[in-house]
Subunit: 311 residues, 2 copies
């Protein structure tokens, strides 16, 4: 439904910013800088697993917006939010959300500029983040010859969700490591600022690595080749994969809301980066996304959380 | 409830922008300008009278945010929104809202920077507006010696609402004039930009003139004297007042969401203004808001829509 509604709106919104819609955030020229702005609504009933504490919910509402700013190569400079609160909600819960938002703002070093609250039927946090950068990273900037890289590791969020949804029996330490990424993901702010100087394109992994790769290839008009053996997958993800009899690479491709940055960069710029990242592929002329694993090259499937959901 | 929730949040949000919370919008220094940002959530079930068309709902979601930017003396430069859409909503309605948002953006000359949509139980439009200005207008800037002024006219929105709620019998022409302000209010953008050069303080009338005056007096640490005979009240408001046996001045003080700008300005700057406005009072040392009408001086009551609501 989301895509259809946005398309309907786009028909009527002819007046767009200096950057057409379609990136992680919108942007406007302001003097010799870009002002980046993004908003993302978190709806408790649909977006929040029950195991999440209210503090984690508040923290995540900030993270998901700050991450979009980071994906544009911008430094976050301000946060705003609207809160929709149902009648008769538990005040302890609301205070937990407030504490989580406050902790996240301290963590990212971002001030709150405005807050609004209304009575609605669901608990809703609509977060808005603003940022600035001299050089914008876009989804359409990947160039043949670039290396494809990803920050951090991938697959833990979905592995954690599968433990929770399927009530898997797994040792406490492993569960903690996976739940950390599921419940307390962090935006790659420092990395985004650094990448703005050296990378050609970027996107954050909010809908999964495979969707991110497809968007980059499509919007840049290039072909992407991924080396499946090189994906930064932790051993805890392999553990869950073997319990549920799934392929750890597929889990890594489908895992969403990890807020890692997927980016492409000319090889000669690689040594400038101080961030923690892994080279996972290459950019070429052409179209499509392909992955080579166990000696086989395949067209990469478009995977999402839903492919691993069990009734 | 709103005030208590915001207070709870403020306890946990220590990191604020270059302007403490409490104005129509937040603000940050950005080079030699101020970046102004504001957000306001419109909830259909509670904020929208049934007679409003979806186009008017969309237009108003933009107006209420652009108005907050104008009240800070800033030129609006971008709009963002999150849409909460219930399952099974009428697509024609959604398209009307889209058309209204599009019309408003053309009207105010503001580009859309980002849009997000989610499934929720109520129809919600959370709008965000950004603006810039060299000189910020704040609620706390009123100075003894200033004149108190208001743009346009006041009282029509509440008069229109009373016609609707009480099903008053009134001629079509009068109804149209009143409904125009109730259903299609416009933000005072051009006026706000002009006022940024000459005024000392400003606030938009979203919660009624009397609340606006009290906020100005309180936040500026001054006393305000209003001349009740000078309020810009149209004859159609007098007409409704006589039918429902109410005081037209009280209607004008209580009428909300008119989006007129209330401002204070040194007398010598008055002749610089090309905008349509009325001088309604004066600023003095001291505290409180007083109104003189029919030869009597009274402490101004804090009136809102609810004082005129009938079961």
């Amino acid at each position: 439904m989301e895509r259809e509604i946005i398309e309907l709106f786009m028909k009527h919104l002819r007046k767009q910013g200096d950057l057409p819609l379609g990136d992680d955030a919108g942007a406007l020229r302001l003097g010799d800088e870009w002002l980046v702005a993004t908003n993302d609504m978190l709806v408790k009933n649909t977006d929040v697993p029950n195991i999440m504490t209210p503090e984690q919910v508040g923290f995540k509402a900030v993270t998901m917006n700050v991450s979009d700013v980071a994906a544009m190569g911008a430094r976050p400079i301000g946060f705003l939010f609207s809160l929709g609160v149902p009648m008769g909600i538990d005040w302890g819960y609301i205070e937990g959300v407030a504490r989580g938002i406050g902790e996240a703002l301290e963590f990212y070093g971002v001030p709150v500029l405005s807050a609004d609250t209304n009575e609605v039927d669901d608990l809703i946090i609509d977060g808005i983040a603003l940022g600035t950068t001299k050089r914008l990273l876009r989804r359409s900037g990947a160039k043949p010859g670039d290396l494809v890289c990803v920050t951090g590791d991938i697959g833990r969020a979905l592995s954690g969700l599968m433990i929770y949804l399927n009530d898997l029996d797994i040792d406490r330490k492993t569960r903690e490591i996976l739940y950390e990424k599921l419940l307390e993901p962090k935006a790659r702010v420092k990395e985004g600022i650094e990448l703005s100087k050296y990378a050609n394109s970027a996107i954050d992994i909010s809908d999964g690595l495979s969707k991110g790769l497809h968007l980059l290839a499509e919007m840049s008009g290039v072909r992407i080749e991924i080396d499946g053996e090189n994906l930064p997958i932790w051993k805890e993800v392999h553990e869950v994969a073997s319990i549920i009899n799934a392929n750890p690479i597929e889990i890594a491709l489908a895992s969403g809301e990890e807020f890692e940055l997927l980016f492409t960069i000319p090889p000669q710029n690689l040594e400038e980066l101080s961030s923690d990242f892994t080279v996972i592929g290459t950019v070429h002329k052409g179209a499509g996304v392909f992955i080579t694993a166990s000696g086989k090259r395949l067209k990469m499937p478009l995977l999402g959380w839903e492919h691993f959901r069990r009734p």
